[in-house]
């Protein structure tokens, strides 16, 4: 925990600059580092896995690889959870580990300058603010910049064994 929080502090100063893929969850706009994104695809039938939290939708077959799918809308408790032809899955490649996240929609790719990034104030949210690396401002929009790798690897996501977490 300590290690990851220091890592987060570092990233407040360094990481926010760069290209971000932005996506919409409910009415909020989020940004994740574009380099973590492998591909974007539609939502397919998933295979449910027993006794897992409800935000883990299950696993899909991504060209022969078994990939777990997390619905961030459920996890963040945002928006109406619907699965239709417009539901988007962002496939992330996090240091070789492939995970899919379900979002309401993908907006665009934005390059953020350091001047456009603000620190995250202390507040109460469904996820620990330590996974938020900053708030980006583009015109009137606010992007919530998420360190998706440490979020996905966190114990709260129950995506990996607690031993390796």
């Amino acid at each position: 925990m300590n290690a990851s929080s220091t890592e987060t502090i570092d990233q407040v100063s360094n990481a926010p600059v760069g290209e971000y893929l932005t996506f919409v969850l409910g009415s909020e706009e989020y940004g994740i580092e574009i380099l973590k994104v492998q591909e974007i695809r539609g939502y397919d039938a998933v295979t449910k896995i027993a006794n897992t939290p409800d935000f883990i939708k299950g696993v899909i077959n991504l060209r022969g690889t078994i990939v777990p799918i997390v619905d961030l809308r459920v996890r963040f408790n945002l928006g109406k959870v619907e699965y239709n032809e417009f539901t988007v899955v962002i496939i992330l490649n996090l240091s070789g580990r492939i995970v899919g996240i379900v979002v309401d929609g993908v907006s665009d790719v934005i390059t953020l300058q350091a001047s456009q990034v603000r620190a995250v104030p202390d507040l109460v949210s469904t996820i620990d603010t330590k996974y938020l690396v900053g708030l980006g401002t583009v015109d009137d929009r606010m992007l919530i910049l998420v360190n998706i790798e440490s979020l996905m690897n966190s114990q709260e996501m129950a995506l990996i064994d607690s031993v390796s977490a």
């Binding site: 006794n51 690889t65 777990p68 064994d161």
Partner: protein, 796 residues
């Protein structure tokens, strides 16, 4: 030009292991009373290849053992000595020593030299045992004496004189390498091999230190390399021009380090420094028949040699030896004597018809070919000596030349991970094809006829492709079976039993990973059969059976599984003894058990019925391990036995670990796969078979047994409409000796599935051992039956 030899080590290790296995197989097959000359030659070639390779790579300990081994083999294959059983024993011992040495080199450690020396000593004793037949006058000392020199001298360092045709260019090269060159162990060897590539190389002089050091051991020899002022003088006969040679040299060394001069007369080279300290030779006086054209043939160490009929040549090289035998030839006969580089000589007395018959005897690093002796009794099919005078290799030579090259034509070595990748990709292709086919089935078959026929073609092609790709991983089970003749032979000798091993179905193929894993359990079973199953000869005769017992190893394909049987015609299992022993050990045993149940008791941990604990078996360790290993492979083992008739252990294995025979079952909207080998049966229970304990604890009554019902939908918290076992299906599963009834909605079908790991991108899920992709592209989870049984009992 410096090549890092270590990159070839792996190839050498693999090839040597193959050669050793081949040698062992041939030795075990050899009929001592009626030896097959071809087999003898094959053994010799295998030994020689190892010798050549080990010499090249500087594994002198192996060179040494193979060398002594070769000496004896050489005499055997030429019929100078008759093979005896004890020789085979010593040969087998020698192959063991070589295997140990090879293992040590693989691990980078040193083998115990004492062991090697002991076996060399035995071999030498055997070599000297019999006096040579009259024709080949081989003083026994010949075989033994060259040892010190040959042992110490790696093949690449040998001197050799080659008698050269006068038509080629001859150069003298004086080479004074700098320190940097000398520090590279392989530098000189590379240089030499380069020279030999383009022509004939003769080493006229080597540094004095080198000569002395040769007699010392390998470690010390390394030290010599850094000594300065070392000079080699080479005589090179080649068709290449002076410039070419200089170019070649400049690759290897500084231009200041060498001088190349043209030697005009080839005569000057026929003055071999035969009196080099570690060279020796002896020459039998040639019969002074006027017309005899005695041909002295010399073989050079790293590559080839050739012989010219020379009127008066007695060339002998340092660490080899040669000798000329006088032939009882008539006037026009020619005599050829070939000497080999580091050790053995061979003599061919040619029944030559023409005068000045030429013989080429080739010897090389890692290969050689040997001219079978023309014996009076030998069949006319014995190969005729090839005649060659230069590098243009005769066909025989080419075939023998490089085992790597020849296997290269028939097989390639590919990393397993590459094959696995291929298998994965093909798996994808099959799934894609299935999805396409499903989509296409929705369009009009008449309008889109060509689409349909194209897809049908695709389906056939992908299926063929998948089969071929899967077969890459398959290996014949003979890889495992081939070790057993030796095991049985050794063990039978130790136990003083007469046993014959019969193998059936050697070509049955099995996944490579299974081949590796099945070896140990099988060895256990075979040893067990030999120790406990087969009786002594006296007992067998008393029982009216042949004195020689038979152990049969058989493999066959049965459906999607491979069945391996180990059967013996021994005494069979003793029901009473097993039962009493089991009760004594506090195992769950009673008189009412069926035979099969009783036999399975021997797989219980800590069980042994042997009255006397031998070092072969009987400590009760083993059978439970055998069972566990086989279960881990997804297989099972069963025993059939009849008193006085014998015992048969039947192992049933899946064809591969990557593919699982599964039963797909439905639960709500999901499909799960249960490994078929863990399913005992499936049934639809009747209401009266369902029992409860205190209103919960559901059980089903199946043929006298009460089995707990594990409702999968409860365990997995999955919604389903089927909550009454009578409406669904009970799958009786068994693992770790425990049975349970798994309640699912319905059976979907039986199919082979490719196992995928869930943990690659996710985590371990309790009750699930993996996942697989179904024909429609969806993911199905494979149930972890042992865990489910524990879960059902609330043990987790």
């Amino acid at each position: 030009m410096s090549i890092d030899m270590s990159q070839f080590y792996q190839v050498f290790f693999e090839e040597s292991a193959e050669h050793l296995a081949e040698m062992e197989r041939l030795l075990l097959e050899m009929d001592v009373d009626n030896p097959d000359i071809e087999e003898m030659n094959a053994i010799f070639r295998a030994a020689h290849s190892i010798k050549g390779g080990s010499g090249t790579f500087g594994f002198t300990d192996m060179t040494e053992v193979t060398h002594v081994l070769e000496n004896l083999l050489d005499r055997l294959r030429k019929g100078e000595m008759a093979p005896r059983v004890e020789m085979i024993d010593v040969f087998l011992e020698a192959t063991d020593v070589l295997k140990d040495q090879l293992d040590c080199h693989v691990k980078g450690t040193d083998a115990d030299p004492a062991v090697a020396e002991a076996v060399c000593e035995k071999l030498r004793a055997l070599t000297q045992d019999e006096s040579p037949p009259p024709v080949a006058e081989t003083p026994p000392t010949v075989s033994a004496e060259p040892q010190p020199a040959a042992m110490a001298a790696p093949a690449a360092k040998d001197n050799a004189e080659v008698l050269i045709e006068s038509s080629t260019n001859i150069y003298e090269i004086v080479f004074r390498p700098g320190k940097s060159f000398l520090k590279r162990e392989s530098g000189l060897a590379n240089l030499k091999s380069e020279f030999e590539r383009i022509g004939e190389l003769v080493i006229l002089a080597e540094p004095a230190e080198d000569q002395e050091k040769k007699k010392k051991d390998k470690k010390e020899k390394k030290g010599k390399k850094v000594k300065p002022l070392i000079e080699w003088r080479f005589q090179l006969t080649t068709t290449e021009s002076l410039e070419d040679i200089q170019d070649l040299l400049s690759f290897v060394a500084d231009p200041e380090d060498f001088t190349v001069s043209v030697v005009s007369s080839p005569d000057s080279i026929i003055s071999p420094p035969a009196e080099e300290d570690n060279s020796f030779g002896f020459f039998e006086p040639l019969p002074e028949t006027p017309s005899v054209a005695a041909t002295a043939a010399l073989a050079q160490d790293d590559g080839y040699g050739f012989f010219e009929p020379l009127p008066e040549t007695t060339g002998v090289k340092d660490s080899g030896y040669g000798f000329f035998t006088d032939l009882p030839t008539e006037g026009s006969s020619a005599q050829t004597v070939g000497t080999d580089n580091d050790g053995y000589g061979f003599f061919t007395d040619l029944p030559a018809q023409t005068a000045a018959a030429q013989a080429d005897v080739t010897e090389g690093d890692g290969y050689g070919f040997f001219v079978p002796i023309q014996q009076p009794a030998s069949p006319p099919s014995t190969p005729v000596l090839p005649v060659a005078t230069n590098k243009a290799a005769p066909p025989v030579k080419a075939k023998e030349k490089t085992p790597a090259a020849s296997t290269g034509e028939t097989s390639i070595r590919v990393g397993v991970e590459r094959v696995d990748q291929l298998i994965n990709l093909v798996g994808e292709l099959v799934i894609t094809q299935a999805m396409l086919a499903q989509t296409a089935s929705e369009v009009d078959a008449i309008l889109y006829e060509s689409l349909h026929s194209g897809l049908a073609q695709l389906e056939r092609n992908t299926r063929d492709l998948q089969e071929s790709v899967m077969s890459i991983r398959m290996m014949p089970i003979s890889f495992v079976f081939s070790r057993f003749p030796r095991v049985v032979r050794d063990l039978a000798g130790k136990l003083h039993k007469q046993v014959e091993l019969v193998t059936v179905g050697d070509t049955t193929e099995l996944d490579k990973s299974l081949i590796e894993k099945i070896a140990d359990p099988l060895t256990h079973l075979v040893r067990n059969s030999l120790d406990h199953g087969i009786e002594t000869a006296e007992k067998r005769i008393a029982a009216g059976k042949p004195a020689k017992g038979t152990i049969t190893l058989s493999a066959s394909n049965q459906g999607g599984a491979v069945v391996i049987e180990v059967s013996d015609d021994g005494a069979g299992l003793n029901r009473e003894r097993i039962l009493s022993k089991a009760m004594e050990r506090g195992l769950n045993a009673h008189e009412g058990m069926s035979d099969n149940e009783v036999w399975m008791l021997i797989f219980e941990p800590g069980f042994s019925t042997a009255e006397v604990v031998t070092d072969v078996s009987g400590r009760g360790v083993g059978m439970d391990v055998v069972k566990r290993n086989i279960t881990e492979m997804g297989g099972d083992v069963q025993i059939g036995s009849a008193p006085g008739v014998g015992t048969t252990m039947t192992i049933r294995l899946p064809l591969t670990l990557a593919i699982l025979d599964g039963m797909s079952v439905a639960l709500g909207k999901s499909i799960y796969v249960i490994p078929l080998n863990l399913i005992v049966e499936t049934l639809q229970p009747r209401q009266e078979d369902l029992k409860t304990v205190t209103g919960q604890g559901h059980m089903v009554h199946v043929r006298g047994e009460y089995l707990p019902i594990i409702a999968l939908h409860q365990l997995f918290n999955m919604p389903t409409e089927v909550t009454d076992p009578c409406q669904g299906v009970l799958v009786l599963i068994e693992a770790d000796g425990k049975k349970a009834a798994l309640f699912v909605d319905a059976l979907v079908g039986q199919q082979q599935v490719v196992i995928k790991s869930l943990e690659t991108n996710f985590r371990k899920v309790v009750g699930v051992s993996g996942a697989t992709i179904m024909g429609d592209g969806t993911v199905a989870l494979i149930l972890d039956v042992p865990t489910l049984i524990k879960l059902g009992q609330g043990n987790i």
